[in-house]
């Protein structure tokens, strides 16, 4: 199987003596609007589809957070305009409790799955894998296309659940039973939950189709000379991400299957001894809600790294390119990502310390959880050493990559608190947890994504994004993110629980009303800055400064050897051959040496 065959469609390749020419690529498909922009099988177009769908979801998900932050910051005020926009969701200008929970749930689901999984690894795995390993396209472009359309279908179903009579699911993004298993538990648990499961099932299928493709492409379709250890770290990161997804999403799917049976076939996998007011005692016996939590978090924890690893890979690449220095400790970076991949499967119960988990078992999970600090710290120190004494180019991508490291450190440190089962007795389900995971996997993954978008935008659209807007975007987002989430640590330590609708009626949490107002105000400002990013993105697609050189950042990797606007097939002629690793910067008196250049006889060795 060759790269050429992958591109040409091969299920009907009848014979082996069909001769493949390497140099007829620019013109082999007669492309219509539909095949080029809609049902495209070109990995670059699919990446853009994932990115733009992800951006739409990010705007919606962010808007949801603005809405519920209005409620949290200003619980005693009414906003009549909210009723004008949202109708029954905000009767009398107040987000009602039921809809508040729906908003929180949807915000979590959308951001975790549809933006930071689909939007992040969907975009960059699709865009970068073939370009950086030197392949014409994915191992199966058809499956790749299906992956996007399942994602799109899931998105449509999830979106439609916002508009139904009983509202979307409102029991939290983790969808714990019994709230998720019993239609009579709440309005959102009725049709909204069914749509949620259908959308998530389609999302899982999309991730699996995509992940299979990514793994098989990275392992099988690298160009000549591109051994695994010559790959840029983005490739390693996206590869491990795909492996995590392939192994953990099916378990979530089996959890959902059991949930569906509990909802509609009357089984009792998760249900036992339940009494509902107005309905009475339920016949279900012997089920265990904890079982769902095990199945959910067996995905749920790897999911954190599915979100984080691509951001780590992007940051590594962007930091190295803009520091004009080789990445520090390449093999240590790969090794630590591998360690994270393994450990990701062994720590899920730290989400369940207070569910009545055996304390001895809990201490095992504490140990395994804290072990993750080791590879994480290795990565952080390597990033810092990479930019240490470097001749840094502060491009917008670089700013966001540095911001990513900053956020990863501050979010990671609070993880050490939460990983302790004893501290968790006090901290679980408080704003401390909210602050921790929003910084370490929410905002920092977004920073990785922004770094990637700013860095590879010239490759995607042949134009640059506007720098002024990019710098404003960076500073507002970075400062804003810290101003939003740092105070939440404080609230959490004081015991303020998450998922409450109105804190002003609690004597213990009244003191935070001004702080909550402040957080909400900053959240609105930061959201506005994201809208500016979206404007910058679309404006630059059409009006941005044009890229005139093939390799604007002076990077070593293969994607910059392709034409400025590569066609389907990426390289018009032969796929370039690779002779060296991806990080030969500032070597032997040269600014950078592309991967395609053969190693000279008198060249010094790296490391």
């Amino acid at each position: 199987m060759s790269n050429e065959a992958a591109l040409h469609g091969h299920s009907e390749v009848a014979h082996s003596h069909e001769v493949h020419h390497g140099d007829d690529h620019g013109h082999h498909h007669k492309e219509t609007f539909i095949t080029k922009y809609v049902f495209s099988q070109d990995h670059k177009m699919i990446a853009k589809q994932f990115l733009i769908t992800g951006m739409i979801w990010a705007i919606l998900g962010g808007l949801m957070s603005v809405l519920f932050r209005l409620q949290l910051g200003y619980p005693d005020q009414s906003f009549p305009w909210l009723e004008d926009i949202l109708g029954r969701w905000a009767k009398g200008g107040h987000i009602s409790a039921e809809n508040y929970y729906a908003l929180v749930t949807m915000h979590g689901t959308v951001l975790v799955f549809f933006v930071l999984t689909g939007g992040l690894s969907g975009t960059f795995a699709n865009f970068l894998i073939p370009l950086q390993i030197g392949a014409r396209d994915m191992a199966s472009p058809m499956m790749n296309m299906l992956s996007y359309w399942f994602f799109f279908g899931g998105s449509v179903v999830m979106l439609s659940s916002l508009f139904i009579q009983t509202g979307p699911f409102s029991g939290g993004w983790t969808a714990y039973p019994p709230l998720s298993a019993l239609g009579s538990a709440s309005p959102g648990s009725k049709t909204g939950m069914d749509l949620w499961i259908i959308a998530m099932a389609m999302f899982v299928i999309s991730s699996l189709l995509g992940g299979l493709n990514y793994v098989s492409t990275v392992l099988n379709m690298r160009t000549k000379g591109m051994s695994m250890t010559k790959m840029p770290l983005t490739m390693w990161a996206l590869f491990f991400t795909a492996v995590l997804g392939i192994l953990s999403f099916p378990v979530l799917l089996s959890g959902f299957v059991l949930l569906l049976f509990d909802r509609h076939a009357g089984t009792s996998f998760y249900l036992s001894d339940i009494y509902i007011t107005g309905v009475g005692a339920l016949p279900n016996e012997g089920g265990s809600a904890i079982l769902y939590q095990h199945l959910f978090w067996f995905l749920g924890h790897p999911e954190v790294y599915i979100i984080l690893l691509p951001a780590m890979g992007i940051a590594s690449e962007v930091l190295s390119v803009n520091s004009r220095k080789p990445i520090f400790g390449y093999m240590a970076m790969v090794g630590s990502m591998f360690a994270i991949t393994i450990l990701a499967f062994l720590v899920w119960a730290h989400h369940m310390f207070v569910t009545g988990l055996n304390p001895f078992l809990g201490s095992v999970f504490v140990l395994l959880t804290l072990l993750i600090a080791v590879p994480s710290a290795i990565k952080v120190f390597n990033w810092l050493t990479t930019i240490w004494k470097a001749n840094i180019r502060f491009t917008p991508g670089m700013m966001f990559a540095i911001g990513f490291v900053s956020l990863f450190i501050s979010g990671g440190l609070t993880g050490i608190f939460l990983g302790n089962s004893t501290l968790d007795i006090h901290l679980h389900d408080t704003y401390f947890v909210i602050a921790h995971f929003h910084i370490v996997m929410g905002v920092s993954a977004f920073f990785g994504m922004f770094a990637g978008v700013y860095h590879w935008f010239p490759k995607m659209y042949g134009r640059f994004m506007n720098n002024t807007m990019a710098y404003i975007h960076f500073w507002v987002t970075l400062i804003g993110a810290y101003l939003i989430f740092w105070p939440m640590h404080y609230e959490g330590l004081a015991g303020m629980p998450r998922r409450y609708w109105d804190y002003s009626i609690w004597e213990s949490f009244k003191q935070f009303s001004e702080l909550n107002k402040f957080i909400s105000t900053v959240a609105i400002i930061v959201f506005a800055a994201q809208l500016m990013f979206v404007f910058n993105f679309f404006y630059s697609i059409f009006k941005g400064r044009k890229v005139t050189v093939q390799n604007p950042w002076g990077a070593t990797t293969l994607e910059w050897t392709a034409p400025i606007r590569p066609g389907h097939g990426n390289w018009p002629g032969e796929i370039p051959e690779v002779h060296r690793w991806a990080y030969d910067y500032s070597k032997d008196g040269r600014d950078f040496i592309p991967q395609t250049e053969p190693v000279g006889a008198d060249e010094s060795k790296h490391h």
């Binding site: 199987m1 192994l247 089984t267 016949p283 012997g286």
Partner: protein, 188 residues
Amino acid sequence: MEMVSAQRQKVHPHKFTLWIAIGSIIMMFAGLTSAYIVKGSLPGWSTVEMPKIFFYSTGVMLLSSFTVQFALKSFKERKMNLYRRLLTLTAVLGILFIVLQVMGFEQLTASGVFLSGSTGAGQFLYVIFGLHAVHVLGGAVALLVMFFKAFSRKFRNYNAVPVEVISTYWHFVDVLWLYLFIFFLIKR
């Protein structure tokens, strides 16, 4: 394809993708069977008597693995008539397997094991065997596609990769069934 041998001695990407997909499916059933183990240790657990008919379906499944293997062999030896016959036989055995599974479910229901109500091995058995049957059905559909391709007069198809992919998948659902069946026999 000659290009494969000329290029690199590597697994064909489609076969490779299948192996990863198999890993993924294994994780799904590992999740379900470990849920079974967790639940089996809780109070109020009830076991079921395995209906005899599932032993017959095991036989059918094993037999179909042989037929698909011989189909692949005859394809590679270009014995196209034999290949078509064996392919058809495999698909029929696959459908027969699913029919036997449904009959097994009916026997279970007749003996008072229901899907609804209190939990127990029976509920897991329905769900897990049902999901396995869905995977067999997927394989049978793929076999049908191969079947029509084999009888097509337009294409003379000598590419063995699709046949290898389907036979590997078929062996996999066979082994998966053996695992599930033995698992349910041992873990009551």
